[in-house]
């Protein structure tokens, strides 16, 4: 919903004051909107999730996998994003897609063990890997969906079932196609990164801005939570053309603090379901 000039100025006034900070839905600066998540409902995908935010945003995610020769295929993640009401080549969609695919690619290459045993999460044998296809469908979109998409990917990946390998892992010497167990499945040992959005208005910093709030925010900061710490990508994004003031180091520090505070709780909530 596009706000009028008066509505914007009213909203901004109530959000910019440090002492009388008041969000339109009465939340705290570090409080999320409630979300509902359903998982594992698409029978033909390896993993799926559907997230419903309180403002009506609805996102459906399906994760499918394919076994590929990783010496031939470089990209082990393919992200397809469709947002209702936006063209696929619009800056809004391409920017979200680019952030998501860069995040997922870099995090999936992440390895806990360094050294000779090092292998990526998706690696199956020495020759073959799983390739993930993440299809994201934003059915209705009432606020910047990046954060919710990352939650949905997290839940979908938590429930993603991959076929269990029963052939040998070392297939460099002996040419052998991977053979899978008939019905036993394994889950992916990977915690997907969570992306948080923090908005700045004057000196105030608050998490998870709603659509109306992004319309009056100066800048928003994207922060990622991975492996229990703040991680990249960290970058700014402007979600309106009207308010373009700069920000200071204090804003960055405060937003890192608020994400540090929120992220474990969000993670716990997502795990619980």
């Amino acid at each position: 919903m596009v706000l009028s000039v008066t509505e914007k100025s009213y909203l901004r006034d109530s959000l910019k004051n440090k002492d009388h900070f008041l969000r339109p839905d009465g939340r705290n600066y570090d409080q999320f909107r409630p979300v509902e998540i359903y998982t594992d409902f698409l029978p033909s995908s390896n993993g799926s999730s559907r997230i419903l935010a309180s403002d009506g945003t609805e996102i459906v995610i399906s994760i499918k996998t394919e076994v590929v020769d990783h010496s031939l295929t470089k990209d082990l993640v393919s992200i397809d994003l469709d947002i209702t009401g936006y063209r696929d080549d619009s800056a809004y969609v391409t920017s979200i897609r680019s952030i998501l695919s860069k995040t997922m690619k870099s995090k999936l290459n992440f390895t806990k063990e360094k050294g000779p045993k090092e292998k990526s999460v998706l690696q199956l044998t020495k020759k073959y890997s799983f390739k993930l296809y993440i299809d994201i469908l934003v059915l209705s979109n009432y606020s910047y969906p990046l954060s919710l998409i990352s939650f949905a990917i997290y839940s979908a990946l938590e429930t993603t079932k991959l076929p269990m390998l029963i052939s040998s892992e070392d297939d460099l010497e002996i040419e052998e196609l991977p053979i899978f167990h008939d019905y036993d499945m394994i889950t992916l040992d990977f915690q997907s990164p969570l992306i948080f959005l923090v908005a700045f208005i004057e000196d105030n910093v608050f998490i998870d801005p709603s659509d109306a709030e992004t319309q009056v925010a100066n800048k928003c900061l994207i922060l990622t939570w991975f492996e229990n710490k703040i991680s990249s990508p960290i970058r700014t994004v402007s979600l309106n053309d009207d308010y373009t003031d700069g920000f200071t180091l204090l804003h960055l520090k405060e937003s890192i603090e608020v994400v540090r505070k929120c992220a474990p709780e969000v993670l716990r909530a997502l795990k619980y379901q």
Partner: protein, 243 residues
């Protein structure tokens, strides 16, 4: 392209752009520049005549060359806008030429169109904060940045690219005599992180960090970027004053 080519600017549909074959002989190395002092970027304003403002910039240490053209303010039709609409288009002619050969990107190279659009979006966000958009109602300002040359090894150095783009656009806007509130600049710290500053480093208007590196405090990152920004700003302002 979704806009009809009513001006016949694009030629017949089966026309193919001129492509030059690759230079085979190795260019002779000129190494007069001592490695100690950093090669300064070469800057030039107003090279193009068919736009309102333009700039050409060549970074000193790698072979990054950019041409920026600024069009506008020109009327836009349709819905009423009380402010100018700014658009930034960043394109890499080399990357697209390579891709059309069928060569796949090696996973590290940075040349998918999505990523360029994302960079354009980031640059637009930066310049939204400095261009005095409300002085140009009902208008559009279009900025085109074209990467004409780059060392292939350096295509993944996004912060450097962003910094040079930012300088190029800035000079283009000054050449177009567009009202801008500050000489915005980007300070880089590594191959993965950069910060854009305004007001002599008092405020930031953009932050970019796409990959994790060694543990670094945010304060340290900003501080180092600020030093780099001030160096860069000094270059720009001394160029503008000397011109």
């Amino acid at each position: 392209m979704n806009v009809q080519d009513r001006r016949r600017l694009l030629g017949p549909p089966n026309a193919r752009p001129v492509a030059f074959s690759k230079v085979l002989e190795e260019p002779t190395e000129i190494s007069n520049v001592s490695s100690n002092d950093k090669a300064l970027p070469y800057m030039k304003m107003g090279l193009l005549t068919n736009c309102n403002g333009s700039s050409y910039i060549e970074s000193g240490d790698d072979n990054l060359m950019l041409i920026t053209s600024v069009y506008g303010p020109k009327p836009i039709r349709g819905s009423f806008t009380s402010k100018a609409v700014l658009t930034v288009h960043l394109e890499n002619s080399i990357a697209t030429a390579n891709n059309s050969d069928g060569s796949t990107d090696d996973g590290k190279n940075f040349n998918t169109s999505d990523d360029y659009k994302d960079l354009s979006f980031f640059l637009k966000n930066i310049f939204d904060s400095v261009v005095q958009l409300d002085k140009y109602p009902k208008s559009g300002i279009d900025i085109f940045v074209k990467v004409v040359n780059t060392d292939s090894a350096n295509t993944s150095n996004i912060p450097k690219l962003l910094q040079m783009c930012c300088n190029g656009i800035l000079l283009g806007l000054v050449d177009a005599n567009m009202e801008i509130s500050d000489l915005v600049g980007i300070g880089i710290i590594s191959h993965e992180c950069c910060v854009s500053f305004i007001k002599n480093g008092l405020e930031m208007c953009g932050f970019w960090k796409m990959k994790d590196e060694d543990e670094q405090d945010i304060e340290e990152i900003v501080g180092k970027c600020k030093e780099n920004y001030l160096e860069n700003k000094y270059l720009i302002s001394s160029y503008l004053n000397g011109d």
